[in-house]
Amino acid sequence: MKKIETLEMINIYKSFQGVRANDNINLKVSSGEILGLLGENGAGKTTLMNILYGIYQPDAGEIRVNGHRISIDSPKASIDHGIGMVHQHFMLIQNHTVIENIALGYARAPMLFPQKKMRQSIVSFSEKFNFNIDPDKKVWQLSAGEQQRVEIIKALVNGAGLLILDEPTSVLTPQETRDFFHVLEKMRKDGQMIILISHKLDEIKKICDRVTVLRKGRVVGHACTEQMDKRSLARMMIGREVIFSFSREKMSRKEKVLDVVDVEVDGDKGYPVVNGISFEVYRNEIFGIAGVAGNGQRELVEAITGLRMVTHGRIRINDIDITNQSPRKIHNTGVSHVPEERIRFGIAPNLFLYENAILKQHHQKKFSRRAFLAYGRIKAHTRQLIKDFQVATPSINIQTKNLSGGNIQKLILGREIADKPDLLVASHPTYGLDVGATEYLRNQLLKRRAEGGAVLLVSEDLDEIFELCDRVAVIFQGKFMGILESDDSRIADIGLMMAGTKDLRTGEGADDSF
């Protein structure tokens, strides 16, 4: 088969139960080019790419490769045409190892013992991209960032000439993103073509040659990135100005909400990954934990929310000891949790939207009458929620899996924030949100802070950390490298601390609190 050189999508239409997800879309890429696909949450980006990858069939329109009309009626056909895709939600089998997952997706895998052959190529890809992945780890043991890397390798081993990346960098650290972009640039030089979906306008501007912008299922513009600045991209995307300005006046820290004392937690493999961490979070405070994925922040959050056993130390909420209590008990003391893996933990995909809007709160008085659920109140609450948090959906009576990725995230965020928790634990809350929604969400977190809530924010996005947090802890290999006030001058070294090369506890200028 001839290598893929140009790809065109012409007059593509697609609706779901009356929702126009794609409305007369045209788009073109040629080899050696990186096309950015931009658009708000729910604009139709994933749908369009799923059509290209053979998961959905368009209602009308055609796809041309090298000028010839082709039909793509399954992902296999798509792979045969040299198209590879990394999905927005991981499509890995949790109980299989990395190597097994990659072998499964490998079109030319030998019938018997495919793992053997794969190991070599996985190791070489990992080295090439600096991915550092253990091929024998089970997927459920990997962090979101690591799973993303497995997905990328999985697409690349099939030798895709066109690589579709649906928000690949959301879970990568800045350094990883830089490395990853080097890879993309190298691929571009090799004559590959790439379609990149991202909500991070900096990235789009930096790496893409051209962009196509979607709004409400339609193309609202094509542009060369050189002629556009971030501002105008954002305007094109959501039709208004986005001003990232937050007012975070100083507030005094008096009442302690979360008190973590010398906590140790075991990871999935059974050895400790959180090695003696202590900190407090107060009312009217946003406390940030910055760090590269896989340094224990996931396990720490799971220990605080009751999903994982604490092996040593104590955790208190409002002076109530909640160490190793059940998730429900912890929730009832006033803790909400936005999980890192939203599809895996945050929702039951096949249940209706209104049923997921009360997950974890369904036992509360306001949603139930004795043993029964009060569906009237639940639906009213859901309507309010999707209005407040601008969850784009045709109705509340649809299965939650049919929402776009960003809108599922907004639903979960809305649900957890609307609960008005004393402590909101949020892992990567803006992952997958468009610029408008990101702005809104950050304001919501600040509002929660102003109302007297405490927020524990885990994020790899340093901009987000700097914008929101009163104090920042840097986690590395299960330990805090230091806790900094937001106006501390040493905050510039946060990158070094994340990489583990600077430790405030030992090096010069050690923090008093240790």
Binding site: F16, Q17, G54, I55, Y56, Q57, D73, S74, D80, T305, G306, L307, S326, P327, R328, K329, I330, H331, H337, P339, R344, F345, G346, I347, A348, P349, N350, L351, E355, L359, K360, H362, H363, S368, A371, F372, L373, Y375
Partner: protein, 360 residues
């Protein structure tokens, strides 16, 4: 070259679902017709016999309703556990255990208690018996992570042997000419029948009421919500603070208990004494799996799918007698239909296209 393309179906209308169901049943019937032809039986004649034996005559329909009673009871309970993706394959023995408990109560207290007291007492005991037998695999799963498919299946054999042991040993009647039966239940412990039929009304009413209640539990209560969340996404259930152990235990109590009720109905309504396991239940616990499945795990629909499959059982008996076909005919019948129903399910979830062109 001809080949098939299979892809996910994004959406399907209600009419489409019903249509596939009807088509699947029709295709299943056609396949069964083919089997009849292979057995040298005129399929048209056989189907007419089946229909008139089950739905087409008053006598037949009464028999159908009789057999629908245990199927509805068990199917309703199975719909609940299957919703949580707990695969209880042991309803057959949960029924038997219910029959054993109920009979014990009937034999011991029947002679001294009046009907309005002893009958509810027997049903209660039967529920406890079935629930107890259903709890064992639940606990094995929670404590030792033993797969429930294996444990429920194996417990079927244990219970059947236990029942046999009782009827040839300690519970064997002295008045039954050496047959391995227990004594007859006293009159007060025997369910009254709808005149001119074998329909034990009390159990039929109990069955209909309980599946309606179960439907309400599943779709309207907090507990039902938790069951559905566990079935849809156990990780999210854990995150949401849903108690997996408690829920698993409760649903197995419900499912086992429902099968136990069916066991009491069979003994007190039809047989009046315990005998060999396969005469107490002709595989109701297994047929009910298909019943729950055909009902799409909705307890209300179990009423209809229960009656449908009861009709097949009765019709199968009818042709067995009139055409001299072997007793296994009904099993062939059931199995074939199940395969076609599952295939129909596949077509509602996937889009399959036949392509006639050369493969690229």
């Amino acid at each position: 070259m001809i080949h098939f393309k299979v892809s996910d179906r994004e959406q399907i209308s209600a009419i489409g679902t019903i249509l596939t169901l009807v088509l699947a049943l029709a295709a299943g019937m056609a396949a069964i017709g083919l089997i009849f032809i292979l057995c040298n039986v005129n399929p048209i004649f056989a189907f007419r016999k089946i229909f008139s034996g089950s739905f087409g005559s008053i006598y037949g329909f009464k028999e159908t309703l009789t057999k629908a009673i245990p199927l509805i009871l068990i199917g309703g309970g199975l719909a609940v556990v299957f919703k949580a993706k707990f695969w209880n394959i042991g309803a057959e023995s949960q029924l038997l255990m219910g029959a054993i408990f109920g009979t014990w109560v009937g034999l011991h207290w029947g002679p001294v208690l009046p009907s309005p007291i002893i009958v509810p007492l027997m049903f209660f005991a039967g529920f406890i018996g079935g629930a107890f037998w259903g709890l064992i695999p639940a606990i094995l799963k929670l404590r030792f992570s033993i797969n429930e498919v294996i444990s429920t299946l194996m417990l079927n054999y244990i219970c059947a042997e236990f029942l046999t042991l009782l009827i040839v040993g300690p519970w064997k009647s002295k008045k039954k000419f050496g047959f391995p039966y227990t004594d007859d239940l006293p009159d007060s412990a025997i369910l009254s029948l709808l005149p001119g039929s074998r329909i034990h009304t009390a159990t039929l009413i109990l069955a209909v009421i309980s599946v309606v209640v179960l439907a309400i539990v599943i779709y309207k209560t907090r507990f039902g919500y938790e069951v559905r969340v566990i079935g849809e996404n156990p990780d999210a259930a854990k995150y949401a603070g849903i108690d997996f152990s408690r829920t698993t235990i409760l649903i197995m109590v419900i499912s086992g208990g429902m099968a136990g009720l069916a066991g009491v109905g069979e003994v007190a309504g039809i047989h009046h004494y315990l005998s060999y396991p396969d005469s107490i239940s002709s595989g109701y616990g297994f047929t009910a799996i298909i019943v729950a499945w055909l009902a799409k795990l909705n307890p209300i629909y179990v009423i209809f799918s229960g009656i449908f499959f009861a009709g097949i059982l009765v019709g199968g008996d009818a042709i067995q007698i009139s055409l001299g076909l072997p007793a296994a005919t009904v099993d062939v019948f059931n199995g074939t239909l199940l395969i076609f129903l599952i295939m129909g399910d596949f077509f509602t979830k996937n889009k399959v296209r036949l392509l006639l062109k050369e493969r690229a």
